[in-house]
């Protein structure tokens, strides 16, 4: 999976797209990890604007990214989360362990 990302001042923004399920999650985790290893960011932002569907596999993606950022002593932010993925993330209490910015509900 190709994920668009950009880096500025050691802030890495990654735009997730499409449907996040068990079928796609492994590749997403791998790509996210590679980008974090490459840029060693202090802040990582996962942008959910173009995520059309997400199940609990997405929770594992976020927790995996969080662990990665914790080992770098960096911070993880989630932003632009549509209603369906937001409900799934909330079921796991993700809002308690990461910072969520300007959620948009569609």
């Amino acid at each position: 999976m190709k994920l668009t990302s950009y880096v500025q001042d050691r802030q890495l923004t990654i735009a997730l797209t499409g449907e996040i399920d068990h079928h796609s999650a492994r590749e997403i985790m791998q790509t996210v990890s590679e980008k974090i290893d490459l840029y060693m960011p202090l802040r990582c932002i996962l942008d959910f604007r173009d995520v059309r569907f997400m199940d609990s596999s997405g929770i594992a993606v976020v927790l995996h990214t969080l662990r990665r950022m914790n080992t770098l002593q960096g911070k993880l932010f989630l932003q632009n989360i549509p209603a369906q993925p937001y409900k799934v993330l909330r079921a796991a209490g993700i809002e308690k362990v990461t910072e969520i910015r300007e959620e948009c509900t569609k």
Partner: protein
């Protein structure tokens, strides 16, 4: 409702079928005129149930998954997802939030999500024989409907 509607599907436990299964149920559910939120809940629950068959029931083989959906009286969608895989030794434990035998790639939240997103949820399993998930979701009738 007279002449109740139903559908039955059978497919191999390939992960590419996760998207197919939830889309199929969403299309079938459309006749109940659900909101986007209701549809999102249904798709999520189906995705969780089918993924569990793929990941846990048949960890090293490709097995068969049976997916049934029915419309019940009172605008209720009834869904059954069944596998003939390895089954669950301790169902109580499996239902606990965050419990997983799937390691880093899983969150252990699948069953918790099915329970909370659906109106009814039942899980029965026989170790070595397979697992059946039976869930229902009532779709709210909104104004303007017959």
């Amino acid at each position: 409702m007279r002449g109740e509607n139903y559908m039955n599907l059978e497919f191999p436990s390939k992960s590419a079928n996760e998207a197919f299964a939830r889309a199929a149920v969403a299309c079938f559910a459309a006749q109940l005129d659900p909101t986007l939120d209701e549809l999102g809940d249904i798709k999520t629950a189906v995705s969780e149930a089918v993924t569990n068959c793929i990941v846990h029931a048949y960890p090293d083989t490709i097995g068969q998954i049976i997916l049934k959906a029915r419309i019940l009286d009172g605008n209720v969608l009834d869904i059954v997802v069944k596998d003939r895989g390895r089954g669950i030794e301790d169902v109580e434990q499996a239902r606990k939030p965050m419990f997983t035998t799937g390691g880093e790639e899983r969150s252990g939240m699948g069953i918790t999500i099915m329970e909370s997103f659906m109106t009814e949820f039942r899980l029965s399993s026989v170790p070595g024989k397979g697992t059946t998930v039976h869930m229902k979701r009532k779709i709210i009738r909104r104004g303007g409907k017959k």
